[in-house]
Structures are given as structure tokens and as C-alpha cells.
């Protein structure tokens, strides 16, 4: 087959610098990213796992990605099954096939990739001669929508769990039905592992009332895995084609202490664990040397919260200035630290800056606990514009709980303020005019957040809110972007769905759904048809308000945060009460990051003696009912690019 007939052929050839090819390994594991190469290769977790797992001598980790539609058509014409990039092994012939679940709208691609590999979609239909199908990543925190498709989920951080699972798989003939079953029984004892066939849901009416174990034993909770050790990757695979995040990244810390109530990542990656400045400088140097990239980004959920951020950034700039390597920060908060760090990297090109105030009014930001004030926003604009920046992009959400039309109009007010402040403070020699882009996305309530009980807006309501937004911006000075609500609405179904969705997803893929995250391929009508054929009302998953007593489909998973805490936060949200950053005092979420002497144990374990003495965390009486959890350890695992934030 001639690859010059497809778009960007170099994304299919493999053989990039830093790839690893192993002949006849004891176990061949294929890591599958259910989106195109340029997206998948931008996921730092892939590079971390690739280096880590390939260091195990007799296990080979290979890669595969979702081919773009033109390539799928070619592969079907030439009868070429999906293959791994390292050895061109047909994916159907590997021992273990592992999907990473980075966003819900990639579920259809996952099923399509099974089709392209000749692997039956439903785990119960896979007899002898098929790979073990596993999955992990942030969306595995509610694995239920694809519970009938995947054999085994790894919930939580993979650094230790994945080698444990793969080393165990080596001991079994996982390509046979019998060997696979024996393996699953044994693997289900690994912390963080969830084997859906062992959990049987019970329904009361339209909702799940509870689960029981297949053998009648009491329901066993699956505890989110938190890795104890850390793994510092020093290599990244260097793609030929330009990818979405074309740079090396170092993870400055994992977890987040801000407690934004809409943010799932801020909840499910707790506790916070920092890497030391020295170890990061060292890792960054190795990455640049091994890849030859000219850009490095520091990555985390809120990089400017890093306790030594100014030292780190100046250290990186000193180290790389001569070599022409630039340093970038993915997302910025609107507060004083941002500006002081930005002054430091000012020498670098003045490209646009991106901020995420998330909501337009103070009340709304208090509801979501964003912790950014009007004063912060004003000061940030004054500082950046007086320093010579002229282009800002602002991210907002619409459809948040308790939202009124004035909150939506507030989005435009924030953007207008940028224009006014620019005029007032811009440098005298500034010839450019101010460019402000406001982007509004539709809010999707996620499991394990304080908003896991709230109804998502209906499509009609989202559309009305978008009209309110447009009406508030009659001029042309502010560029307004908004996401079509259909995708977010479907995402809302998968985010809080249960395993009855497996049939719907399989049906939708049979009817031609794929690349749902790509608006040009998203087929909403087909999805609705699939729901109708399965006799399932989609609105019960996203538009229905849940009560505190309801057993949620993901309640058999212990993510470390207590349900009481989440509910308490939800109640505070309704009253627009804020909860402070837990760096300055424990708020009692239940993850238990306090050491017995009451200090935050704050570092990854190779810096385990380090404690931030000046930031003693005081447990708040009454709220911290989960201190028994405090032995839970802190460490390193999966990476996550701040999605959508540049």
C-alpha cells in the first residue's frame, strides 16, 4: 500500500527517534490511544510509560493510534488490520491491548479500533485467540460506560500498577479464554484493578441500586491507586510530523490544592506532590539532550502554585537560553504570581497569553470556588498590558449550577475590561491594538466532583445561553468562541453513565459514529438513534438531578475523596461560599495527605524528608472525618496536559 496517497503519511511509519523495538518478548503490550497520532503523541503519560515499561527486559510496549478516516478507508481496501508502530504486529495478535481514556468522546474510537483489529467489541464474545483488553487514564475513574467492552481497568496512577499487571499477565496465557479468566481473578487483587465481569449491577427502575459480586460475596470497593515511588522519564519519542504539543514537558507536581468544584482532575489527582526544583532541572536537561526539541513546557494542573516556581523558571531560562530552547507555561491563573513569572520570561517572544477565569461574575466564581477576584483580574490585565502584551485569550464555562443570565453577560464584561485597561495602561510605543478572545465551553458535570449530583443543562437551554452571550457582545472588538452544546451534552452522558451505555456505544459505532471529538465527524443524530434502538433514555444520565442517597454507578470506587466532603462542597457552592486553598489548612477532603505530626507531606517520595514547615496544615475540626486515611501515600503517576489550555 502506498502511503503517499493518505494525508500526513509520516504519522503512520513509526521508527521515530527514541522508539524501542524488541524481538520475541515474553509479553507484547500494545498501548492504544483512541485518537490520531498527533493527539496521542502529545500525551506525556505515553512517553513516561513507554520508557518505564520498555525497561522491563521481557516486556515490549508498542504503540498504536486511531488512523485518520482516509487511512481507515485505505486499510479496509487493502485488508490491512490495525498494526503496532514498532513491529507492524497486527493489534489482534498482541498479548495485552491497553487503551488510555483521556476524554469520554473517544469511546467510539476505542470500539472502532477493536473493529479495525478484528477483535470482538464485547468482552464476553472474546474467546480463544484474542488479546486481553485493558484500559486506564482519567476517564477510567468512571469505567462503567465501557464496562462490557474492556476486560480490566486500572484506576488511578499507573507507574506501579501497570508493571504489576503486565508482569502478572506474563504468567498466564491471556490470549486464551481460560487463561484470561484465571489471570483476571488473580489480577483483581491488585490495588486499583477493577474487573467488571466480577461486579453485577442491580437496578431499581431506571437507576442502579447497588452492585453485588458475581460469587455473592460482599461488594468489594476498588481503591484508586496512588503510586508510592516516582518515575522520571528522560526520553520522549520524537515525531516526524508536527503534533499538537510539540515539545518536551516536565511534571512539576501532581494534584492540586485549589479545590475548584467543577474540576475533576483537581479531585482525582490528590494528594498534591511536588518534584524538587533540582530534579526537574536535571530531567529537563536530559529530555532536551535526548530529543533535540527547542521547547520545554512545565506541566501540572496549576503550575504557578509550585512552591519554587520563580526559582524553577529562572533556573530553566538560565540553563537553556544559550541553546535557544524556549520555556512555556501551559495555563495561567489571573493573580500576582503569574505576572511576576511572566516578567521573568518576558525576554521570550510576546505571544498571546491564555487565562481561565472560568466565570464572568464574582458570585459565579465563588460557586465554582475558582478563587479569583475581580481585583485579581483587574491587576492582571494592568500588569500584562503595561508589560507589552496585547493578545489575551480567556476561557469561560456556561451552564454552571445556579447560573443566571447576568453571570453569562459577565463574561463579556470581563472581556470588555481587558479592552478598557489596555487603552489606559499600554506602553507609549505600542502600535498594536488589543486582541481579546473569549471562549465559552458548555459545562459537563463529572463524577467525584461536588457537582456530580447536578443536572446538566438541556441542549435547548445551552443554546439559549449562547444567544444571551451573543446578545451581550454586539460589537466586533471581542472575538467570541463557543462550543456547540451537542458534544458536551453527549460527553455529559458518558461522564456519569453506567454500563448500559456499552451497547449504545457499540451500536453507534456500527452505524458509523467515530471521531466524536472532531466536530466535522460528530453525528449526533446517529447517537440518538442508537439510544432509541437500545431503548435507553439518554437524559437519565446527564439531565437528571440525583439525590445524596442515590447509589451512583461509580460509588464502588474509592477515589480517596469522601462522598460527604463532596456533598458538603456542593451545599456550600449553592450558597456561593468559598473553600480556601487546602495548602493553607486542611479542608478534610478525606485523601489524608497529612503526616502524623500535622505537616503536609508534600514531595514525591525521593524527596521524602522534605516538609514545608512554613505551611503547616491544620486539620479543621469536624470536617476532617477521614483522618484514618492519612497513611495513604503520595507519589507519582499519570501525566495530564491541562486540556484545552495552551
Amino acid at each position: 500500500m502506498d502511503l503517499s496517497e493518505v494525508e500526513k503519511p509520516s504519522r503512520y511509519i513509526g521508527g521515530e527517534v527514541n522508539t524501542v523495538v524488541k524481538e520475541n518478548p515474553a509479553l507484547r503490550f500494545c498501548f492504544a490511544f483512541p485518537d490520531v497520532y498527533e493527539v496521542g503523541m502529545s500525551y506525556v503519560g505515553l512517553h513516561l510509560l513507554y520508557q518505564m515499561i520498555n525497561e522491563i527486559p521481557d516486556i515490549a510496549m508498542e504503540r498504536t493510534f486511531m488512523p485518520w478516516v482516509d487511512m481507515i478507508a485505505k486499510m479496509q481496501v487493502h485488508q490491512i488490520p490495525l498494526f503496532t508502530y514498532e513491529t507492524r504486529t497486527p493489534v489482534g495478535e498482541v498479548d495485552v491491548l491497553g487503551f488510555t481514556l483521556q476524554y469520554e468522546l473517544s469511546f467510539s474510537n476505542l470500539v472502532k479500533m477493536l473493529h479495525l483489529s478484528g477483535i470482538p467489541s464485547r468482552s464476553r464474545d472474546r474467546g480463544d485467540g484474542f488479546p486481553l483488553v485493558v484500559a486506564g487514564g482519567p476517564c477510567a475513574i468512571n469505567p462503567e460506560p465501557i464496562a462490557e467492552i474492556v476486560d480490566l481497568f486500572m484506576i488511578g496512577e499507573g507507574e506501579e500498577m501497570m508493571p504489576e499487571v503486565l508482569n502478572l499477565a506474563k504468567e498466564y496465557d491471556v490470549r486464551s479464554a481460560e487463561g484470561r479468566r484465571a489471570f483476571l481473578e488473580s489480577a483483581s487483587r491488585i490495588e486499583g484493578v477493577y474487573v467488571p465481569i466480577f461486579y453485577v449491577p442491580e437496578y431499581r427502575g431506571e437507576v442502579i441500586s447497588t452492585y453485588h459480586m458475581f460469587d455473592g460475596s460482599p461488594l468489594r470497593k476498588v481503591r484508586r491507586r496512588i503510586a508510592k515511588g516516582s518515575y522520571r522519564y528522560t526520553k520522549q519519542i520524537v515525531p516526524f510530523t508536527e503534533i499538537v504539543h510539540d515539545r518536551v514537558s516536565v511534571e512539576v507536581f501532581r494534584g492540586c490544592t485549589r479545590g475548584c468544584r467543577f474540576c475533576q482532575a483537581g479531585m482525582i489527582y490528590r494528594p498534591i506532590r511536588e518534584n524538587s526544583r533540582d530534579s526537574l532541572l536535571c530531567q529537563a536537561g536530559a529530555l532536551i539532550e535526548n530529543t533535540g526539541y527547542d521547547e520545554l513546557s512545565i506541566m501540572s494542573l496549576s503550575s504557578l502554585d509550585y512552591s519554587e516556581v520563580e526559582d524553577l523558571v529562572s533556573g530553566l531560562l538560565d540553563k537553556f537560553e544559550k541553546e535557544g530552547v524556549s520555556v512555556s507555561l501551559p495555563s495561567l491563573r489571573m493573580d500576582a504570581t503569574s505576572v511576576s513569572v511572566l516578567k521573568n520570561i518576558q525576554k521570550v517572544r510576546k505571544t498571546g497569553l491564555t487565562f481561565a477565569p472560568e466565570a464572568g461574575t464574582q458570585r459565579m466564581r465563588d460557586v465554582i470556588n475558582k478563587g479569583v477576584t475581580d481585583e485579581d483580574i483587574k491587576n492582571t490585565f494592568e500588569d500584562i498590558f503595561s508589560l507589552g502584551w496585547f493578545r489575551v485569550k480567556l476561557y469561560f464555562m456556561i451552564g454552571l449550577p445556579t447560573e443566571q443570565d447576568e453571570d453569562i453577560e459577565g463574561i463579556i464584561n470581563v472581556a470588555k475590561r481587558a479592552l478598557w485597561i489596555f487603552k489606559r495602561v499600554k506602553p507609549d510605543d505600542m502600535k498594536k491594538s488589543c486582541e481579546v478572545t473569549a471562549s465559552a465551553s458548555c459545562f459537563v458535570p463529572k463524577p467525584f466532583t461536588p457537582f456530580q449530583w447536578v443536572p446538566q443543562c438541556s441542549i435547548a437551554e445551552f443554546e439559549r445561553k449562547i444567544e444571551v452571550l451573543k446578545a451581550a457582545n454586539p460589537g466586533r472588538k471581542i472575538t467570541l468562541n463557543y462550543h456547540a452544546p451537542l458534544e458536551s451534552w453527549l460527553e455529559g452522558i458518558f461522564a456519569r453513565g453506567d454500563r448500559r451505555l456499552s451497547e449504545v456505544i457499540i451500536k453507534a459505532v456500527e452505524m458509523g459514529c467515530l471521531f466524536d471529538g472532531w466536530s466535522e465527524h460528530f453525528k449526533f443524530d446517529k447517537w440518538m438513534e442508537a439510544f432509541a434502538l437500545c431503548g435507553l433514555d439518554p437524559k437519565i444520565f446527564n439531565e437528571r438531578e440525583r439525590s445524596y442517597d442515590e447509589f451512583l454507578p461509580w460509588d464502588f470506587i474509592d477515589c480517596g475523596i469522601s462522598k460527604e466532603f463532596l456533598w458538603h462542597e456542593y451545599q456550600k457552592a449553592i450558597r456561593a461560599e468559598i473553600t480556601h486553598d487546602c495548602r493553607y489548612g486542611c479542608v478534610g477532603c478525606g485523601v489524608g495527605c497529612l503526616s502524623p505530626d500535622g505537616y503536609a507531606t508534600y514531595r514525591f517520595s525521593d524527596d521524602s524528608n522534605f516538609k514545608l514547615k512554613n505551611r503547616k496544615l491544620f486539620p479543621i475540626a469536624g470536617e476532617n472525618s477521614e483522618q484514618k486515611n492519612k497513611v495513604r501515600q503520595k507519589d507519582e503517576a499519570e501525566e495530564r496536559e491541562g486540556r484545552g489550555l495552551v
Binding site: 503519511p9 511509519i13 532536551i288 527547542d294
Partner: protein
């Protein structure tokens, strides 16, 4: 210091586009410690110049490029680590002179048709592949002119393909060798030639030489 190097682009590397090649070398230089110079200005770009961009899908045994580097880092050139199919055959320091692209006058290719019965009904079992190629070459030589639409920056214009073909013949090994005009005064893409010469047939194309107007190898000094 300017370094001229000669390299191959074979196998799967043919699918790496021209812009991607620039990135690939830039990163390879940084990995090995070769410090490349950049252009001045707001968007600095690496001072790396190729003799002639190669279309995606075409192999090459003979590519030439020049890069300007810091004097001290020449020794690191030997450490360049490149993906499979891209191999540095030779490199040397050269004086600043006429850019490669301006010196280039001819590109030579070998064209290997890979017909199957359905694609090339003219090729019957009684014919060998080389007989068929000779037949097509005879047809080509008999034509006074062959007009085709050439895409240019300003749209497209009709040109005579034959004016761009310096030499075309059957090699001893039984494949087609063609030397085409290439460079600043217009060039002929071998894909266009093979489309006329071997219509509806898959053709494997490989570049074998780049030469100046005296038909001297481009890698050699003037």
C-alpha cells in the same frame, strides 16, 4: 562555518515531508551537540538549505544540503543520530559560495514501473517488463512535443514536457533512467513524467543524482 552534507532518504523515510525534514535535522543537530546558526529577526529559522525538495513518496540515494554552524561544533557531526533510511554519506566544510539551489541544474531519477495485469493491459505475458519500457520510451522519443499543465505559483500553465527531459533511456538492468531539468529555471517533477510515460501504472521513483549545469555532482566543489 558552512557544512555541506550528502545523505539518503530511503524506505519509509520517503513519507517524511520536506518541512518535516528541516525539523528532523534541526533536532538531530541539537541532540548531537552541533550548534546551528539561526537567521536574525523576529522568527529565527535555522540556516539549513537543501539543494532540492523531494516530493513525498520518492526515494533518494543522493540528497545534498548545507548548514551553517558554530565553528567549535563541527566534530559533533560524526555523532548525528538519524532515523532508519536517512543516512549521512559524507560531510565536509565548504566556503561560502553560490547556494546549492542556484547551482542545481539537473536531477537524475530511476523509474521502475510495477504494473499488474489489471493496471497495464498493454503488458501481456509475452512482453517482459523491459520490452514494455523500451516500447514506451520509443513512443516518447517519437513525440514532437508533450504538453502538460504545470502548476506554478501563479496558477498553472501549459508547457512542453520534452523540453525538460535532458536524457532518458533504458538502463542495463532494464529500468528507466531519466535526467530532468531541475532548479531555478523551472523543473519537471518525475511524477508528472511517469504519469505520461507509464499511465495508470504504479511507478517506484528514486533520485540517484543531483548535478550542476556542467553535469558535475552537486556535492563536489565548483
Amino acid at each position: 562555518m558552512i557544512v555541506r552534507f550528502q545523505y539518503t532518504k530511503l524506505g519509509n523515510a520517503v513519507y517524511i515531508g520536506h518541512l518535516e525534514m528541516t525539523k528532523l535535522f534541526e533536532r538531530a543537530f541539537r541532540r548531537s551537540g552541533v550548534i546551528v546558526k539561526y537567521t536574525e529577526g523576529f522568527n529565527p529559522t535555522v540556516k539549513l538549505n537543501f539543494a532540492s525538495p523531494l516530493s513525498v513518496g520518492i526515494e533518494s540515494e543522493y540528497e545534498v544540503a548545507e548548514v551553517e554552524i558554530e565553528d567549535g561544533s563541527f566534530e559533533h557531526f560524526s555523532r548525528l543520530l538519524l532515523p532508519l533510511g536517512i543516512q549521512i554519506l559524507d560531510y565536509k566544510q565548504v566556503e561560502k559560495g553560490v547556494p546549492l539551489m542556484s547551482r542545481l541544474a539537473y536531477s537524475s531519477y530511476c523509474l521502475r514501473p510495477e504494473p499488474n495485469q489489471a493496471e497495464a493491459p498493454a503488458l501481456t505475458l509475452s512482453h517482459s517488463l523491459s520490452d514494455w519500457i523500451s516500447e514506451r520510451l520509443r513512443w516518447f522519443s517519437e513525440q514532437g512535443e508533450i504538453l502538460f499543465e504545470k502548476r506554478t505559483k501563479k496558477g498553472s500553465k501549459t508547457v512542453n514536457m520534452k523540453a525538460f527531459v535532458k536524457d532518458i533511456r533504458l538502463s542495463e538492468a532494464g529500468i528507466c533512467l531519466a535526467t530532468l531539468v531541475s532548479g531555478n529555471n523551472g523543473s519537471l517533477n518525475p511524477v508528472a513524467l511517469s504519469g505520461v510515460l507509464f499511465p495508470d501504472c504504479r511507478v517506484k521513483i528514486k533520485r540517484i543524482l543531483l548535478a550542476d549545469e556542467n553535469e558535475k555532482e552537486l556535492y563536489l566543489d565548483v
